[in-house]
Symmetry: D2
Subunit: 342 residues, 4 copies
C-alpha cells in the first residue's frame, strides 16, 4: 500500500526514481572509501560545471552539517553570524552552530525571511571592541524558510556590503533548486557569481535520499575543510552513494524539473485556497511553500487527512509544502477538504 502524500515537508517525500537508479548502478564492486574514488571525482567535476572550476566542493550527510561546518570554516569562536530569526541555523538546528563553532548568532526579525543591507546594519557594531562578539558572516537562506526567493539583484548588494566590511556570505541552499527554478536561472548566478562565499547545496528536499554539498567559492576558507568534515563527523565511508545522487540530480536538469513541479504545485494550491473564506495567505508564493492563516479549530481536522505543520500557534498560521511528487489530485483533494471543513 502506498504511503499517503501530505503537505508537511518536502523531506517527507521519498527519493526520485532516477536518483535511486543511480545508487543502484553505483553498487558495483569495491572502491576506495571516504571519497577517494571515481564516482566522487566525477560528481565533483559535474558540480563544477555548475559552479565553475574555481571552487572547492565537499560532501556531507545533511544540511545542518553543511551549514555548521561551512560556518566553522569561516569563523573563529569569538565571531558572530548575522541571520534572519527564521533561519534554519537559528531556529531549527538545536544550537548546533553555537556548540560546534562557539559563535553567537545574531538574529534579525524580518517580515518575509529575507535579509537586506538595511536589516543587517542593526548588528554591524562592536567591531574591535573585545567585549562584543565580532560579526563575521551573513547567512542567507535561498529559498527562505518562508518560501520567498531572493532575486540576484537582492543578493548582490548584501555580498558587496559584506565584503566591504570584512564579512563573508554564507547561503543555506537547502531549497536552492526551488529558488533557481523560481527565478529561472542557474545555481551559480545566485551564488558564486553573486558574491556568495560558502554555499550549503542541498538536494534532499528535492528528490535525493541524503547528502549535501558544501561549496567554497572562497577557496582559502575551504583549504582545511576535510579535517573539519572528519572531526565534524560528516565523512561518509561509502561516499560514492552520495556522489552519484548529485550526478543524477544534475543530469538533464532533473533538479529543475522537480523544483519547477513543486513550485507549480504550490501556485496551484495557492490558487485553489486563496479565495476560500477564512484563509489568509501570509507570504508570497515564490517557491514550493504556501503559508496561510486558517481558523484554528479546523487545523486538526485537516491534519487527519493531510499532515502539515503549524507554523505559529499564536496566529494560527500554517505551512503547506509541495514536493517533486505532489500531484494535481493532491492539491484538489486538499483544497476541496479545506473548503468543505471551513
Amino acid at each position: 500500500m502506498m504511503n499517503k502524500r501530505g503537505f508537511a515537508s518536502d523531506n517527507n517525500a521519498g527519493v526520485h526514481p532516477s536518483i535511486l537508479e543511480a545508487i543502484e548502478k553505483a553498487n558495483n564492486g569495491h572502491v576506495i572509501a571516504y571519497g577517494d574514488d571515481d564516482y566522487t571525482e566525477n560528481a565533483i567535476s559535474r558540480l563544477k560545471m555548475e559552479f565553475g572550476d574555481d571552487c572547492d566542493i565537499y560532501f556531507v550527510f545533511i544540511g545542518t552539517a553543511a551549514n555548521v561546518l561551512g560556518l566553522s570554516a569561516a569563523t573563529k569562536p569569538y565571531n558572530a553570524v548575522i541571520c534572519p530569526d527564521t533561519a534554519h541555523i537559528h531556529a531549527d538546528e538545536c544550537g548546533a552552530p553555537e556548540k560546534f563553532t562557539g559563535c553567537k548568532l545574531l538574529p534579525v526579525s524580518t517580515p518575509d525571511g529575507k535579509l537586506s543591507v538595511e536589516l543587517i546594519q542593526q548588528h554591524m557594531h562592536g567591531f574591535g571592541f573585545e567585549h562584543h562578539v565580532q560579526p563575521r558572516v551573513i547567512s542567507l537562506t535561498q529559498s527562505t524558510e518562508l518560501g520567498t526567493v531572493y532575486t540576484v539583484d537582492e543578493i548582490r548588494p548584501i555580498t558587496t556590503y559584506a565584503h566591504e566590511h570584512g564579512l563573508v556570505v554564507h547561503m543555506d541552499g537547502a531549497r536552492i533548486s526551488n529558488a533557481a527554478a523560481s527565478i529561472g536561472c542557474g545555481f551559480n548566478e545566485m551564488t558564486g557569481a553573486a558574491g556568495v562565499d560558502i554555499l550549503s547545496f542541498g538536494g534532499t528536499k528535492n528528490g535525493m535520499m541524503y547528502g549535501e554539498a558544501v561549496v567554497f567559492f572562497n577557496k582559502e576558507m575551504g583549504n582545511d575543510f576535510r579535517y573539519r568534515r572528519k572531526q565534524g563527523m560528516q565523512l561518509a565511508s561509502k561516499m560514492r552513494y552520495i556522489a552519484v545522487q548529485f550526478e543524477a540530480f544534475l543530469e538533464d536538469e532533473l533538479w529543475r524539473k522537480n523544483a519547477l513541479h513543486a513550485n507549480k504545485m504550490a501556485l496551484k494550491l495557492y490558487d485553489a485556497v486563496r479565495t476560500i473564506p477564512g484563509v489568509e495567505i501570509t507570504q508570497k508564493v515564490e517557491s514550493n511553500a504556501v503559508f496561510a492563516r486558517i481558523p484554528e479549530k479546523i487545523i486538526s481536522l485537516l491534519q487527519e487527512q493531510y499532515f502539515f505543520y503549524i507554523w505559529d500557534e499564536v496566529t494560527s498560521e500554517v505551512r503547506w509544502m509541495c514536493s517533486f511528487d505532489t500531484t494535481g489530485e493532491d492539491i484538489e483533494g486538499f483544497a476541496a477538504l479545506l473548503r468543505k471543513i471551513i
Copy 2:
C-alpha cells in the same frame, strides 16, 4: 565494468543486494521525516528483539558519530575516556571526541587491541583531584582494530570493574557482526547482557550503505539523546532509508551470513599466506582481518593489483581486510601474486 575488489577495507565493498532492495521498497510515498515514521518504529522494534526491550536505540549516520555522541551522553567535559591506543576514537576520528565532548582520551598501549582490567588500571587514579581529568568511560572495540575478538568472559570482568568504580562501558561495534559470528553468539550476549552500557552498533562494514545505531542499555544516559543527536548534526530527515537497512540486516541473520563469510575469507587468506617465506602473521585471525609483516619492497607491487593499507610503516606491517563479498578467487589470486612477487 566491475570495480575490482581489494583488501583495503570492508567499507570499500558496496551494499548487499538485500539491503539495497529494502531501500527500494521503502521508496514509497510520503512519511513523516526525522524518524517519526513506521519504518523507523519497526526497525527499532526489530533491534529490540536482539537487545531486549529495556534499552533505547537511535540511528545516526556513521560510526564516528555513534561513538562520539554516545560518549557525550556518558560524560561531562572534565571526564576522561580510557581506550586502547589503537581505538578508532583515538587514532582515526581526527579528534572528534575531544572537540565534541571536551574530554581527554587516555590511551592504553596493548599488544592485541584488547583492554583488560589490568591494563585499565594504569589510568585509574586522580579521582577527586580537580587538577586531573576524571575517568568516566572505558571504551572497547569489538572486534578490535587489530582483528581480535573479546570473548564474553573477557568483557564481563571489565564491565564489572567499571561499574564497581563508578565508570561505564562503551563498545565501538563497527564490526560487531564479525565478532558475534566469530564467537558464535548473538549481539546481546556480548553487549547488554555482558554489562556494556552504550553500544555503537554498525552495519556499514558488513553490507549496509550508511547508518549506525546507538544502543543505550543504560537508559538514563540516553534519555536526552535526541537533542544530542540533532545538535550533533546526525538526525537524518529521510530516516526511513536508514531504518530499513537495519531491518534487512537483521532479517534471517543476514548480518551473520555476511560476517561468517568475511571471517572465513580471512582465515582462508591466513592459510594461504602464512607459510609464504617472508610473511609473518602478527595478530590472531579471529574476525575478518589479517595483519602481517611483509618485505617492504614488495608492498607497492602488491598494491598495484590489490589495494590495501600499510598499518605500520616502520615495521612494514600491513592489514588485509575481507568483506562480505570477498571471493575465494580473490584470495587465491592475491596469495598467488604474493607468493610470486616474494
Copy 3:
C-alpha cells in the same frame, strides 16, 4: 599624583583600603595552594553566614567566569538561557557563554533591563522538540545593566515560574551590593530565599581587587563544580588573597557602606543634572548608575574631563556610574561642567 575619578565604571575605581589591608595581613608564610587553606575555609564560612549553610560556594577570578561556569553547571549544550538583551552574558562577554557551554542565549528586549514572567514567556516553547534548543535557565541581573533593581516581590514570581516549568534561575550579582543597599535587605533575601538557584556574587565593582564567588543554592548542580572551575581556568593557586577580600567585604557590612555611598552619589548626580535643559534621564535611578540622553555634540567635551561611556550612539544616551569612592565634589564638578557646556 592622584589619578582622577570619572564616571566610566565602578570598576575604574581602585581597591577599598580595608580590603587591601586584609590582603596584606594574609601575606604570611605558606599555606596550601588552590583553596585548601584556612583563609578560604573561613571566608566560605563567613559567606554562609549570609546565605545559610545549605549552599556551596566557590571562588573564581571574575564575573564573566562566575556567570559562564555557573551556567555550565546548570546546562547541557542543547539547552538555552533566557536573559535580557542587555545582560552582561549576552552583550558583554564576547560569546563566552556560547563557547564554553554550547548553549544558545535567548535575549528578551526589555525597557528597563528587568525580566518578568510575561516577558519570559516568548521563549517558553519548543520543549520536547528536538530541532529547538531546550530552555533551561532564566538569568537575571541584580542590579540590572540599566541601574534598575528587582524587588524581592519581582524576583519570586520568576523563580516560582521557572521551577514550575523545570527551569532554574541564575542571578548575575556583579552589583548585588548596590541592589541590596537600594532595597535595604540582605543578600539572601533576594537570592537563595527568593528562589534563585545559582548566584554570581561579585565585589570587584564595589571595592574589591579581583575575585567573585559562585553560590549554588541548588547544591546538586554544584557538586562537580570544582572540576568545572579548574577546567574553566578559574582555580587560583594563591586562593587566600581572594578569600580574605570577601571576608573584609562582609566585615561590618563594608559592602553595604560602599554600596550605599555609591547609590547616594548616583542620586545626587541625578538631582544635580535632571533639571539641566537638554538632559533627559532615561532610567529610574535605583542603584549607582544614571542613564541620560544628552546632546551629542557635548559628549566629547565632557569626556575630556570626566570619562564615561556612550550607551547608545544612535539615541545619544550615556551612562554615568558612581563608585564607593565618588565624592560630592566629583558630582558637583561634573554637574557644573555639564551645565556650563550645555
Copy 4:
C-alpha cells in the same frame, strides 16, 4: 602567628613584599578598566625591554589560562599538541586544553620532563591524512615539571625542527625565572631568541600574587588574542594590579634574586639529604625542585611537620619545592628531621 613554610609548592608561598608594595602604590584613584591604562602600558613596555619590541603581550590571570589560550591562538580544533606526559597542560589542567581548543594532546614519555627532536618524532605522522589529528604545536616546559632545565642549545634544535615542519613552539614558563637563573641568562635568550613562538610567562610561583603574561613572538598568532582572552574569561577589569606586579617583578631583577635563592635552597636541600641512607635523588637538581625516592612509611611522618606532595605513589617518589622565601633553617630543620626519622 606565622604560617609555617613547607616544601609542597612554590605557590604555597605568599607574595614578595616589593610586589605587594607595588600593588599598594597602584591603588590610587580611577583608571580605565580592562587594561586601557598607563600601568598596563608601562608594564608591557617594561616586558618588551626583556623580549624586544617585536612581540605582543597580554595579561591573564593564571598559567593554565596562559597555556590554554596561547595554544588556542596557534591551533584549529583538528590540530594536536605534542608535549611531555608530565606537562602541566597534559597532567594538571583537568582537560582544559581539550575543552577549550578541541585539540588532542599527544604526550611523550620522557625520563626527565624534557622533549627532544628525537622524542618528538614519534608523533610526527599523519600529516594530510584527515582521519588523524594534525600536529601543530610542540609545547616545552621551562623549567620542567621535574625540575630540570633546557639549555638554549637544547631548545634551538626543537624550534628549528618545528618550524621546518610547519609547527610552532609553545613554552610553558610557569617557572621560567628558575630556569633563567639556573643557566644564567635572560628571558629572551631561551624564548624568542631561541625560536619560541608563544610563551606563558609566569611569576606567581616566584613571588607574585596572581597574573601571567602571554607573549607572542609570532605576532600574527596574537593579532586577535584580545578576543580570545575575553571569551576565555581572562580579561581582568582592574588590570593595573596585575600590571604593576610584573613591573616590580622585573625591577632590579627581583625575579632573578628570588629564583636564585629558591634554586640555591634546592641545592642546599639536595646536599643535605642525598647522603642520608634510604634517600635516592631521582632527577638532576637544576632549578628549585628536588625529587627523591624515600621509604614509604616515613612519608606521612615527615608531612606532619613539613607538607609536601607524593609524586608517584607506586615508586614512593616525592617532590620537594623550594620558594623565594625558603630559609636555610627550613632546610636544616627538614634534613635533620628526615635523618632522624629514617
